[in-house]
């Protein structure tokens, strides 16, 4: 599938936005503006962007603890994301969720999730709804390699295959789950072969090549929209930084040469260089794009800073749907 220039530029812009959002989030966490824990997805931007570029607002996704990129790629408002990280009332969850629980149901982003593997069943439920609606919508479930060793992965793949649900399972295989290398935890370290056990297509792609991700996702999404059932895509990628941080970034525990190798595969210049070679982007336009991202992020920080903290009166609100019985 060939992508038009505006779409390609949007994909580039989204990857830059995710990268810069994460860089900023780490700084703001260290500065104490953000509370709790941050799991940056720097280095993995191409997966979220390549997949979400195939989706519309009526397609639904579920995400993980490392979910900022999925939100941004699905079209979330970074001001409300930042306000959520700051714990403010104008955040997506009114400050009740924080980094691990950002959601925007209006655009089909059914939530980041603090429990490894937990998003798969919910995505399968959204896929069931899409199947019943019969309008050709799909669900996409993002998860890490760590989720593959959870039962929920296998249950979700099986039921989706049995019912031919319109769902795409997207594994971000970044070679580690927390500080454990994949080989310590998986007998078969590749994820795509699991698809065969459930009779669905399973492909592995270079997860740092946004166009390759997009290509694989387009095929899988088209298949799902056409009622042909689920697919599994393994995106091989790498996180640039630690698993998570509180007030200080923890020390790197992975081999230095491995980190350096993967940093050399940065998905952002890979796309921007490609676009320049094709005459679709000039260095000046790239500079402008970066400056615009920077302005938007500054505006998001200002928005978040100006938003009040929730009041104690908000503690017990949002527990139950207000209008209990629908008649």
């Amino acid at each position: 599938m060939t992508l038009e220039a505006p779409k390609l530029l949007t994909m580039l812009r989204d990857m830059i936005m995710i990268r810069e959002f994460e860089e900023l989030a780490m700084k703001l966490r260290a500065a104490g503006k953000i509370y709790g824990v941050v799991h940056p997805c720097s280095g993995q931007e191409a997966v979220a962007v390549g997949v979400c570029a195939c989706l519309t607002n009526s397609d639904r996704i579920t995400s993980t603890h490392r979910g900022h990129g999925h939100c941004i790629a699905k079209g979330a408002d970074i001001r409300r994301m930042m306000a959520e990280l700051f714990g403010r009332v104008d955040g997506y969850c009114k400050g009740k969720g924080g980094s691990m629980h950002i959601a925007d149901f209006a655009i089909g982003m059914l939530g980041a999730n603090g429990v490894v593997g937990a998003g798969l069943p919910m995505a399968a439920g959204a896929a069931l709804a899409a199947q019943l609606d019969g309008k050709g919508d799909v669900a996409v479930c993002f998860f890490g390699d760590g989720a593959v060793t959870e039962g929920e992965f296998h249950e979700a793949l099986n039921i989706s295959a049995v019912w031919k649900l319109p769902i795409v399972f997207v594994c971000e295989n970044n070679l580690y789950a927390s500080n454990n290398a994949i080989a310590v935890q998986h007998h078969i370290t590749a994820v795509a072969p699991h698809a065969a056990g459930y009779g669905m297509p399973g492909v592995a792609v270079d997860g740092n090549d946004v166009l390759a991700v997009h290509q694989a996702a387009s095929t899988a999404v088209a298949r799902a929209r056409a009622g042909q059932g689920p697919s599994l895509i393994e995106c091989n990628t790498y996180r640039w930084y630690f698993h998570s941080m509180h007030d200080k970034p923890p020390p790197e525990t992975r081999p230095a040469d491995e980190v350096a190798l993967w940093k050399s595969r940065d998905p952002i210049p890979r796309l921007s260089n490609d676009l320049m070679a094709r005459g679709l982007l000039s260095p000046a336009a790239l500079q402008q794009m970066r400056a615009q991202v920077e302005r938007e992020l500054q505006a998001a920080v200002t928005f978040a800073d100006n938003s009040p903290f929730p009041g104690v009166a908000d503690l017990l609100t949002d527990m139950y749907a207000p209008d209990a019985a629908r008649t």
Binding site: L128, A129, L132, D133, A321, D323, A324, A325
Partner: protein, 319 residues
């Protein structure tokens, strides 16, 4: 009014709600009757034996415009779906800041007394009460079973329906038409003036039988059935205790951190109810053991009528 069984009342509730609202769908490893015949295989889904995924799918479909009824069948099996119940179902609305509603109903058979041994004889309703964010119903009659389950299906929150297996064959009158029982409203099943017995699920029948016997002695027992455990109709319980000054709570679960413990604590904390008490609150609960198989042991593990009688005599003797 017709006389139908508890099990049939529950089936009718599901069928009526599915007829009424095309967004109501149901999922489980098996069903009573043949709901596919009327509602078709799209809306009636036989699942693999995958409780975790079916529990989570209920949330995903609920957030996407449907009103799923997930049938765990026995409460035993939902324990393999604890993540989806505790980390997800109870929390998603609040932790996402109330952005979306999750109108999903989880149904399960509970309770003991059927020779099913430890794993299949559980009454863990207080576990779910403890997890803020779920609503919980525990009906004791066919009419309440039907009316509460229908309300649960229409409710826009995750509701867990505890359906006592021993009650399934029991018949009782069920009002005709669209019979609804609101969530969070207790019922005084028998009015009385001397002792309040708050009984749960199957034990409402037992409490009523005991009350009948005490009436012959001229002792007037009030039997209160909370029907919904979350939200709990505390006011009705307080009103009864303030009137009688004596409280016995009967619950099929072991006493520690139980619904019975919660009800006793609520009474103890409330100045007016506490002042009204003429003696200490008594709980009649199951023994704190996995339910054994052999009939005499199983019976010994459960609250018996004699235990209820003895507890009532203790509160009468206290003042």
């Amino acid at each position: 009014m017709r006389e139908i069984s508890f099990a049939k009342a529950l089936d009718e509730a599901v069928a009526e709600e599915m007829r009424r609202d095309a967004k109501v769908i149901t999922m489980g490893t098996d069903f009573t009757g043949d709901p596919i015949k009327e509602f078709g295989p799209d809306r009636v889904r036989f699942t693999p034996i995958s409780e975790s995924v079916m529990t989570g799918m209920g949330l995903g479909a609920a957030a996407s415009g449907y009103r799923p009824i997930i049938n765990w069948r026995s409460v035993t099996f939902c324990f393999v779906a604890m993540d989806q119940i505790i980390n997800q179902a109870s929390k998603v609305r609040y932790m996402f800041g109330g952005q979306a509603d999750f109108p999903v109903t989880y149904r399960c058979g509970t309770g003991s007394g059927m020779g099913m041994a430890a794993q299949h004889s559980q009454s863990p309703h207080s576990l779910w009460m403890h997890i803020a964010g779920l609503k919980i119903i525990l009906p004791s009659t066919p009419a309440d079973a039907k009316g509460l389950l229908k309300s649960a299906i229409r409710d826009n929150n995750p509701v867990v329906s505890f359906e006592c297996s021993r009650l399934n064959p029991i018949t009782g009158p069920v009002p005709d038409g669209d019979h609804l029982v609101p969530l969070g409203v207790a019922e005084v099943k028998r009015a009385g003036t001397d002792v309040t017995v708050v009984a749960l699920g199957y034990y409402v029948r037992e409490a009523l039988a005991v009350a009948e016997a005490f009436a012959l002695e001229g002792i007037s027992i009030e039997v209160v059935d909370p029907r919904t455990l979350v939200p709990l109709d505390v006011d009705t319980i307080h009103a009864s205790v303030r009137k009688t000054g004596r409280l016995v709570v009967v619950d099929e679960a072991p006493p520690m951190c139980s619904a019975a413990a919660e009800i006793a604590a609520l009474i103890a904390e409330d100045p007016a109810s506490f002042r009204a008490l003429k003696g200490p609150v008594q709980r009649v609960c199951a023994a704190a053991v996995p339910v054994p198989y052999s009939p005499p042991l199983e019976q010994a593990s459960l609250p018996r009528r004699g235990d209820i009688v003895a507890a009532i005599r203790r509160v009468l003797a206290a003042g």
